[in-house]
């Protein structure tokens, strides 16, 4: 029965109180009670704070309903605070909903920040039992799977060492292995793949993929890493402000999610953002925009088109633009300049720049924009500098190297494929 419903949420909501939750002491509470009885103002309330603000409610989840069938791998995406983790907490029964119902069919294995159940004094082996028991496995089940777990975790030589001596990578590998081998019908993962080295990440993804397709388990996966979502899931649920805004195919869902992202615009106003010390102010960049785009996301070899609107205070010849690609952490990656053959008329002008970003690795980037002219003697005269003119996202499809690109290891440039020629030895 493959269309059996495994998780069904009906109108689920979760309410939190804003402000300091539970941060009261008994004395404050008694003072408040006393004041209420005497009909006075709450003495613990800060001046200027309205009575309403203190008791204000916040709906982390607001009427969420969905049904997930057996063998489905569902990705849950949304911005920080959209309610993803709250939803998982409700499904794993860490906290109870304020309203609505969730029906579950079978056991739930959660990998929310794996390894939290580890006790530092116990050895790896003892912790496997401990963690397995916390996740609901019985002793005999763990006995059966111990060898598999140890093999998968790649920490066999250290299995009888207390985990407080482990490196953090070993710690996570062991914890993931325990959770991955739990015989549960439903597997829940929250960003667990952010840790561990590349090879292990890939191994985990494969294991999860296999769990869904071969073993028919239901996988719920939360991540901000769209490439792993693409790789693992066959359906996504997009949450925004506690509500489901999309439920369906992966590509459409990611599109929906990235569109509603903040920080990425299609038109950037450069007013007040000009920097640079030796500018002659003969030219002012007004706006930078991505024409024909809903969202600044570029795939594979697609060139990045930038429309730059600027105002010149006089006629300028041999004008050129230079863009510097930077990471979101402001690390410069590379530069591209246009030939100095533009000519600006006095007044408003527009130029269309096309940047070939084929070599750029998947990730989020910013552009620095410089307008300059080549002087008669070959010296450059800088007119205007906008340090962070605009931002965009580069996405790549295709082989798994591109999907799992880790820029902290491989940098931000994808060099052309290595050529290899077999030659005779000697």
């Amino acid at each position: 029965m493959t269309d059996q419903i495994m998780i069904k949420a009906e109108n689920v909501s979760k309410e939190y109180r804003l402000g300091v939750i539970g941060g009261t002491t008994l004395r404050e509470e008694l003072q408040r009670l006393g004041a209420r009885l005497r009909g006075r103002d709450d003495p613990t309330r800060k001046l200027g704070e309205s009575a309403l603000a203190r008791g204000e409610r916040f709906l982390a989840l607001d009427g969420v309903s969905f049904a997930i069938r057996k063998g489905e791998a569902v990705g849950i995406i949304g911005h920080n605070g959209a309610g993803k983790s709250t939803l998982l907490k409700l499904i794993t029964r860490v906290t109870a909903p304020s309203g609505g119902r969730i029906g579950l069919n079978g056991r739930v294995a959660s990998m929310l920040e794996v390894g939290t159940g580890f006790h530092p004094e116990l050895t790896g082996r003892e912790n496997i039992y401990m963690n397995g028991a916390i996740l609901g496995m019985s002793r005999s089940e763990i006995d059966d799977k111990l060898e598999q777990i140890v093999d998968f975790s790649e920490v066999r030589p250290f299995i009888d060492t207390p985990v407080k001596r482990y490196s953090s990578g070993m710690y996570v590998k062991l914890a993931f292995s325990v959770a991955a081998h739990l015989d549960s019908e439903i597997v829940i993962m929250d960003e667990v793949l952010a840790v561990g080295d590349m090879a292990f990440q890939k191994k985990c993804l494969d294991k999860m993929r296999q769990a869904a397709t071969v073993e028919g388990r239901t996988v719920l996966y939360v991540s901000h890493n769209m490439s792993t979502i693409r790789q693992l899931c066959d359906r996504v649920i997009v949450l925004n402000k506690g509500k489901i805004v999309f439920d369906g195919g992966v590509e459409e869902g990611i599109e929906q999610y990235t569109k509603s992202s903040v920080g990425f615009q299609t038109v950037y106003d450069c007013f007040g953002r000009h920097t640079g010390y030796h500018t002659d102010e003969k030219l002012h960049i007004d706006t930078v925009s991505y024409p024909n785009k809903d969202y600044p996301s570029f795939r594979d070899a697609e060139p990045i088109e930038l429309a730059v609107d600027y105002t010149a205070s006089e006629r300028l010849e041999r004008l050129a633009f230079r863009v510097t690609v930077k990471t979101r952490e402001n690390q410069t990656i590379g530069m591209a300049a246009s030939p100095a053959c533009l000519c600006a008329e006095k007044g408003k002008n527009r130029v269309l720049l096309r940047l070939n970003a084929d070599a750029l690795a998947p990730g989020k980037y910013c552009l620095k924009l410089v307008a300059f002219s080549m002087g008669a003697l070959g010296a450059n005269q800088t007119h205007d500098v906008v340090e962070t003119a605009c931002a965009f996202e580069k996405q790549c499809g295709g082989d798994s190297d591109k999907l799992l690109w880790n820029s902290s290891w491989w940098g931000h440039l994808m060099l052309p494929e290595l050529t290899a020629e077999e030659t005779d030895h000697g």
């Binding site: 008994l26 029964r93 739930v108």
Partner: protein, 293 residues
């Protein structure tokens, strides 16, 4: 959150906001019995890891306390060790040890279980398992220490009896001993659970535990005999639910002492009432404590 058959689909688990007032879900706890056993093991193993003497500490602590009590309260202060008008039948050392062993069990269970939610919030905030497993496990792991200490107590008692220093004659009351242990277990668990439930919101109580237990010890006949308490204060003094089981223990093992069925039953009544309050609070808190802790 209990097994329930839905009209349309059969869900093994249904999560909703409903709360049951008195629902311990012992069945679920039983299914997680391996976890309880592992927690007991963890408590016990991690407590004595990297110590030279290991579980010997479970013996050294009460022994030293008993020595101190014997010297200070017995020899220096000269407090009575008699619970009734009859003269004490055993040396003061055994008398103090009987009280200390029970009290150390009681107070260590209260101390460890009162931190249940806060000390384990990092695990409980990530994974679901029956929350009751933690206090039950710490109660059981302290039971192991109690067992070791009682064994030592019996050994000393036997030596003293054989050398003729103890004229005590235990009687059929010994059969009530399991009840005494059970009552101490329920009492300490109830107190611990009540405190742990309240500390998820009010941290003040956590401050009170160590200090309060110290005061409480002096309000219980641990370091002195019941004869010390003036007759007219007895009705109030005996309201302390720990007192009757402590006295019954000494009465049963020494054959001399104080026992009053009325007060004993009253203490059971108080124990069960506290237990009910504990269960009520625990059920109220456990589902959503991660939001407030």
């Amino acid at each position: 959150m209990k097994k329930k058959t839905d009209a349309a689909e059969n869900f093994t688990t249904v999560i909703s906001s409903e709360k049951k007032l008195f629902d311990l879900r012992l069945g679920e706890l039983f299914r997680y019995r391996d976890l309880v056993l592992l927690l007991v093991r963890r408590d016990f193993v991690s407590k004595y890891k990297q110590t030279v003497l290991g579980p010997l500490w479970a013996v050294i602590q009460p022994l030293l306390t008993t020595v101190v009590f014997t010297v200070i309260f017995g020899s220096l202060a000269g407090l009575t060790t008699a619970d009734s008008a009859l003269p004490a039948a055993v040396p003061a050392f055994l008398f103090y040890m009987a009280g200390t062993v029970q009290w150390s069990y009681f107070s260590s269970v209260v101390t460890t279980t009162s931190g249940t939610f806060i000390a384990n919030s990092h695990v409980m905030g990530k994974v679901y398992f029956p929350r009751l497993a933690v206090p039950v496990a710490s109660s059981l792991s302290n039971m192991i220490s109690l067992g070791i200490q009682l064994a030592l107590f019996c050994a000393l008692y036997l030596v003293l009896a054989l050398t003729g220093q103890a004229q005590a004659s235990p009687d059929a009351m010994l059969l009530l001993l399991p009840l005494v242990i059970l009552q101490l277990m329920l009492l300490s668990l109830s107190f611990g659970v009540i405190i742990s439930s309240l500390t998820t919101k009010y941290r003040d109580l956590a401050m009170l535990v160590g200090f309060g237990l110290q005061l409480w010890q002096y309000a219980s006949p641990v370091a002195y005999g019941l004869r010390l308490i003036p007759e007219r204060w007895l009705p109030f003094y005996l309201l302390n639910p720990v007192t009757p089981p402590l006295l019954l223990f000494r009465r049963a093992v020494f054959g001399v002492g104080w026992f009053h069925a009325g007060y004993y039953l009253l203490s059971w009544g108080i124990t069960l009432l506290l237990f009910a309050i504990g269960v009520l609070l625990f059920n109220r808190i456990e589902k959503t404590f991660t939001d407030t802790v």
